[in-house]
């Protein structure tokens, strides 16, 4: 009896230990190595672009940089970025204030209407405007980009306003401030980080936007890059401009990250919180309804109106695209997006797991590398991968794989975010319990962690796929010859003023874009998600 017990105890002690010692570091090493590989792959577009520029003739680069056009393009792009950012800041904060701090009737409905603009891709909105009005150039691009990006400021500001302490505004009033001064001195500092973070995302979007500036014939950097590559065949100029644009994007993302950290640091100073007393608008509410109504009419009414008009027109002329064309484009769009989402997931898994479970310098570095996708405009990633495939891997040039890889890099931040948050939500205690029951780390991952986290990761991957379906500039550069997606067909048809033919594509794209927009707005307005996930 006694000896038997001894053996059993000895077995228990002896068997799991060596296995763990062997497996745990091995598994972690594989995880670290794959995270490093994923981060390096995510950096390929930027690195290769820099290499390409470094290889070019020095005088060519200087020629390109001193080219008078670059200065004009810079002024154009920066001007557009500043104008749209300023407009979004003012309109977004005002809308958020109306929807959170006043007694405006129907605030809930207005919240939905004012976030629906996210469901209209900016180049679809641009199609709507040029198909029905004569607005072009700077004002066209300004209008379209402001209206489409407004929710990026409105939604996080709403979340911050809901968290901000309204009593401090009351205190400021009793200490001698007018209503306006009290807002500026007491409330604005509390919502400023959120509003500015939203504005930086707007700036990033405007910087990288290609479709709407091209359709509006506004000479911005992105369009000029495409023209330099496609029409002028000046690859050095295109590469140099891409590097400049990439640097601007990286600067914006870095600024946005810093601001987000600052927002967390400000924190809350209240223990108990009473519901804010709403400002009575009185007769002003008609003005508020009018303003919000005008914004909704411009951002939703114009594109949808254009759609309705040309969809109805189409049945009469019937010279437009056939249903089979549309179906073929739709299926190739879905296939490409699925491949892109798969690449994004493959790259995101090691980086996300490392960030969620093993906080270290390596985790921080690999996670930062994944944010390159947010900073690099689609046209830059597309162009860099064209050069890369031509010079390094010719068999991949214009292959489905190269485009899927571009999608993977561009939407990596979204995928990493989904993986990280899903895994963070799995209690580490559960993993410990599973380990004490004799499971190896790998088995714990498959039987516990992944089992609990997969719905969140799956939803994230689905969002990546839906976002990839409306991607335009990288798709234009990298798509296999003869393959069209919904986005490229819309672009081609709209550029050729075949508006009636373009309308069904616009409708399909709005349907595609509406899903993530509607899923995410509620959580962004509640402060549970960051607006960059809706980009």
């Amino acid at each position: 009896m006694q000896t038997a017990r001894f053996t059993a105890a000895g077995d228990l002690e002896a068997t799991p230990d060596p296995r763990r010692r062997l497996r745990a570091p091995g598994g972690r090493l594989v995880l670290r190595a794959s995270a490093v590989v994923a981060a390096l792959l995510a950096a390929v577009p930027l690195v290769y672009l820099v290499v390409r520029v470094a290889q070019a003739d020095g005088s060519d680069i200087i020629d390109a940089l001193w080219n008078a056009r670059i200065a004009t393009l810079m002024v154009n792009t920066v001007g557009l970025v500043l104008a749209v950012s300023a407009a979004c800041l003012v309109l977004g904060v005002a809308t958020a204030w109306l929807l959170v701090r006043t007694d405006l009737p129907g605030r809930r409905a207005w919240l939905v209407t004012s976030s629906l603009a996210l469901a209209v891709p900016s180049y679809v909105a641009a199609f709507g405007w040029i198909a029905t009005t004569d607005v072009r150039g700077f004002w066209g691009a300004f209008l379209v980009l402001t209206l489409c990006n407004l929710p990026l400021v409105t939604l996080p500001t709403i979340a911050a306003l809901r968290l901000a302490n309204s009593a401090s505004e009351d205190v400021a009033r009793t200490l001698g401030r007018t209503r306006w001064r009290a807002f500026i001195e007491a409330t604005w500092p509390q919502i400023r980080p959120a509003a500015f973070a939203g504005v930086l995302l707007v700036a990033l979007y405007v910087l990288s936007d290609f479709g709407s500036v091209a359709l509006m014939r506004y000479q911005a950097f992105t369009w000029a890059i495409q023209v330099a590559y496609e029409s002028l065949f000046d690859r050095t100029l295109a590469a140099v401009m891409s590097v400049v644009l990439a640097m601007m994007g990286i600067a914006l993302v870095a600024a946005e990250r810093r601001l987000r950290g600052g927002q967390a640091r400000l924190g809350s100073t209240v223990a108990a919180r009473s519901a804010p007393t709403l400002v009575t608008l009185g007769r002003w509410r008609w003005l508020a309804h009018g303003g919000l109504g005008l914004l909704a009419a411009l951002s939703l009414g114009v594109p949808l109106g254009a759609l309705a008009r040309y969809l109805l027109l189409r049945t009469e002329t019937s010279t437009a695209v056939s249903a089979s064309d549309l179906l073929a484009d739709a299926s190739s769009t879905v296939g490409l997006a699925a491949a892109g989402a798969a690449v994004a997931l493959a790259l995101a898994l090691p980086i996300g797991i490392l960030a969620a479970r093993f906080r270290s310098r390596l985790a921080t570095v690999t996670e930062s590398a994944s944010y390159l996708g947010l900073a690099l405009p689609g046209i830059v990633v597309g162009l860099s991968l064209v050069f890369f495939s031509l010079n390094v891997a010719p068999m991949l040039y214009q292959s489905v794989w190269m485009l899927a890889f571009a999608y993977g890099v561009l939407f990596l931040p979204k995928a990493v975010g989904a993986v990280r948050t899903s895994i963070v939500q799995v209690e580490p205690g559960l993993e410990d319990v599973a380990r004490t029951m004799g499971l190896s780390p790998a088995r714990v991952w498959t039987r516990v962690t992944a089992r609990i986290a997969w719905p969140g990761i799956g939803a994230g991957v689905l969002l990546v796929a839906l976002t990839a379906m409306k991607e335009l500039p990288a798709t234009l550069l990298l798509r296999p010859t003869g393959t069209e997606t919904l986005a490229t067909s819309l672009w081609r048809l709209t550029s050729g003023t075949a508006y009636a033919a373009a309308a069904p594509y616009a409708l399909a794209l709005i349907v595609v874009a509406a899903v993530p927009a509607l899923l995410l707005t509620r959580e962004v307005a509640g402060g549970k998600r960051h607006p960059e996930e809706t980009l």
């Binding site: 302490n165 009351d170 205190v171 009033r173 001698g176 001195e185 509390q190 924190g267 100073t269």
Partner: protein, 351 residues
């Protein structure tokens, strides 16, 4: 001098006013507590006084100057009224000194004045801290210093201690009272905590469902409440049915001398409610010779050291009865005791 007069205030929303005619006066330099259950409209009253809400009817007058009234509405920033909100509401982006100096002219914001105020509330060592680094009690003291910095005529405190834990609350309460006395500031404190109202205030105004129930000194409110509801709201109260017999109530405790509450009229022989405070009951061991009384059974004893609350079952009484007695005696559970009444109770007519 800055007397604050609240005159017939009706306020809230047009269809359903939260306040329905509130009138009282706060004498200069004194503290009035507005006491009421949650949802009684106390906070709305404070916002009306501060000018953050505009009353539908009535007036707010300080030293004969009308601040709110028919066709008059002085903006909150011109009223010289300070506010200490429930959660202190320090500006999270400003340090302690900048919070205190917020209401001062720009040149004086970091000058001696603000530092003196911090000293007065005992927070001068924390001048450069951010609000997030302070404890709950410290935040309230900074909020008070901030409200006093502009030398307001009146300071309003909105449930200022409800977010603090019990031990801290008594301490901060005492400190705040002292600071207000030293500054000789007229103050209005809103609270649902009767201990807070009775212990801090010179005058208590009880509000229920938007109406004023009674105004008086804490002793008046406690000893001579005008209604049964109020008697039960401020402090523990034992309510016993009985028959009115000119200066006495005949009921489960025998013949108890009693006064009739203000404004109540009854004839001899009418059924009344007799209200007794727990400390008005005496409890004696059987055979100790404690005088007249009714035999009761000890159900529970809560011992606090300085005193004890003995819960007894009284014959003819459905609910257990609580008596507060000195803590110098020991009580056995389920033993018989003699319960008597030490002073005159208060009788209320039945509606």
């Amino acid at each position: 001098m800055s007397d604050l007069q609240v005159r017939k205030i009706v306020a809230g929303y047009d269809s359903a006013p939260v306040l329905r005619g509130i009138t009282f006066t706060v004498p200069h330099g004194s503290l009035t507590a507005v006491l009421g259950p949650s949802g009684s409209g106390k906070s709305t009253l404070l916002r009306v006084i501060a000018g953050l809400n505009r009353p539908i009817e009535g007036a707010i007058v300080i030293d004969g100057k009308v601040l709110s009234g028919p066709r008059v509405h002085v903006a909150p920033e011109r009223r010289r009224i300070g506010l200490v909100p429930q959660d202190a509401a320090l500006f999270p982006h400003l340090d302690v000194l900048a919070n205190v100096g917020f209401g001062l002219p720009r040149a004086q914001r970091r000058a001696r004045k603000a530092l003196e105020l911090l000293d007065m509330v005992g927070m001068s060592d924390y001048a450069t801290r951010m609000p997030g680094e302070l404890s709950g009690g410290q935040r309230h003291r900074v909020a008070l210093a901030r409200a006093l910095a502009t030398e307001p005529d009146v300071v309003l405190l909105d449930e200022p201690f409800s977010a603090l834990d019990a031990a801290l609350r008594a301490e901060v309460r005492g400190q705040v009272r002292q600071v207000l006395r030293r500054a000789q500031t007229t103050a209005v404190l809103v609270t649902h905590d009767q201990d807070e109202a009775l212990s801090m205030a010179d005058q208590v105004a009880v509000v229920d469902e938007g109406r004023l129930v009674q105004v008086g000194t804490p002793a008046e409110i406690y000893a001579k409440p005008v209604s049964r509801w109020l008697a039960q709201f401020v402090g523990g109260a034992l309510v016993l049915p009985g028959t009115w017999n000119d200066g006495a109530v005949v009921g489960p405790l025998g013949v108890v001398p009693a006064n009739l509450a203000d404004g109540h009229v009854v004839r001899p022989g009418d059924i009344v409610d007799l209200v007794l405070r727990p400390e008005q009951l005496s409890v004696c061991a059987m055979g100790a010779g404690g005088g007249p009384g009714v035999i009761a059974l000890v159900r529970d004893v809560a011992y606090f050291g300085h005193d004890a609350v003995v819960t007894v079952d009284l014959p003819g009484c459905e609910q257990p009865v609580q008596a507060r007695v000195l803590g110098d005696q020991q009580w056995r559970l389920d033993s018989e005791v003699l319960v008597g009444v030490r002073s005159a109770g208060l009788a209320f007519a039945r509606e």
